[in-house]
Amino acid sequence: MSKKIMIIDDDIDLVEAMRITLESAGFEVIDAQDGVKGLEILIAEKPDLLILDVMMDTQDEGFQLAYQLRSSDETRDIPILMVTAVGAQTGYSFDSAKDEAFLPVEEYIEKPINPQALIDAVKRNLPIA
């Protein structure tokens, strides 16, 4: 059975780009455009991995959602890849090694999406079944 990947991102073109990439690598992809809907679908569908955008409606909606997921027993174990176009120059500096303590996500992926890097990151972080 193929692994189920969920993408929560408000940019439908990016979602599409990621979907095509992941489907080509044999994954099943579901998506949502905002955090609230995303959470609903996520609980119902129980994906194997979540790809989450940092900024959606608010500057840190993605972070809020990541916290929420990590604090619930039901969703705690779903690995999260966070997609961001935010570099150091905006004042937010993301470094998964350093920020892991307070930003509980597995890995950061930089936009624009590099298909091979995305596939690699997903494979790397999928729980061993």
Binding site: D11, A17, I20, G87, A88, Q89, S93, K111, P112, N114
Partner: protein, 442 residues
Amino acid sequence: MPDPSSNGFTSFYTPRSLRRKTLWLIKLRWFATTGMVFLLVAGANFLNNDFPLKYLFLTVSILGLTNLAYTITAKRIDPTSLKMEMIFVRIQIYLDLILLSILIHLTGGIANPFYLFYIFHVIIASTIFEEKYDPYCVTIFSVSVFTIMVWAESQGGITHYNLFGSSLSLLSILISIGVFYLTMFSSAYLGVTLMARHLKVKDIINRQNIELKKASQVKTNFFRFVSHELKAPIVAIQSSINVVLNLLGNDLDHKTADMLNRAKKRSTQMLNIIKDLLDISYDRQLGDSEQEKVIPGDFLMEFLENERPYAEEKEITIVENICVERSDLKLDKFILEKIFSNLLSNAIRYTHKGGVVNISTSLNDSHWSLTISDTGIGISPEDQKHIFDEFYRTKNAKQHVGVGTGLGLSIVKKLVDQLGGVIILDSELNKGTSVTIKIPIL
């Protein structure tokens, strides 16, 4: 607007603000005149016949009349020229000094501590005049007039009003003590007035500072927002192109793949421009403890490792000569990273295949220096004049590397300025370029 005064420097006065000084002087003078009239009337009964009461009243009257004249002038004539206002103030101060000298002469010359009042004139002059020579002129004028007066009195050239006699009379004690009290209280008044003004100015500066910080924050937030909004579509475009190229790359015919690669290159350029724009608009609040500090040399080594593949791709040799660093010397990581990446990427980009890029640092008591030199295309003397201008790219650079924003060096310049450092460019067309930055250390 402050207009330049006679010798060409910019005054911090406006004609109107200098006029306010005049009004302050007039107020002080009324106070002094009233005080003296009161003292003379009160003392008239006690004073002996030696006291030149008539002349004293005359002098005080002249003081009052001149003050009346100043008041009328100030009311009738609007302050328009700074030069005229300055002349007005000078006339008042020097006339005051002459009248004070006459009063001192009439009340016993050097025998009367009244001459301490010269001090107030010097203090007032020092707080009003912007140029240092003016208060010293007032001082020289005061001591000269007083010296000549004392000398003339002692030589018998002019009358010495011997009010104090040789013994300590009650009158002489009262006058001396009265003058002493006045001196003390006037000093306190002047000090307090100056302090109040100083605090007021400080308050204004503080408030403006807060406003500026707020404005700068608004600007930064705006740029963050705009950059995110600008980036999002390009990111989506590039991600889509990437997907097509990566997943269907082998099925695409050569022309299609070529066009997509061009589109990808241009979208990368756009992303770089946005990134550079953000860098240049972003004011770092130096001294903010939250910023990460690094030892520049160590950080440079680390940084070089990441950049080496780009150099190797072009078969460019990187020669390092990084000095021994002081472990207590740390600089802002963000700024260093921007400086290194811009200078190094320039050196690699504008150097021909097989060239050499030299990187050296040095450290002395006052500066940490970095020199990055290359054997690249160089910059002509004409272009060097504009090389730090925003968006400036030399013809040569455009021919050599098509894609570039023309912001790199202006970003470096801005950041080096923020650190209080200097940037030195040395370049010869077709020979190479050397950029040195010197950053002051504590």
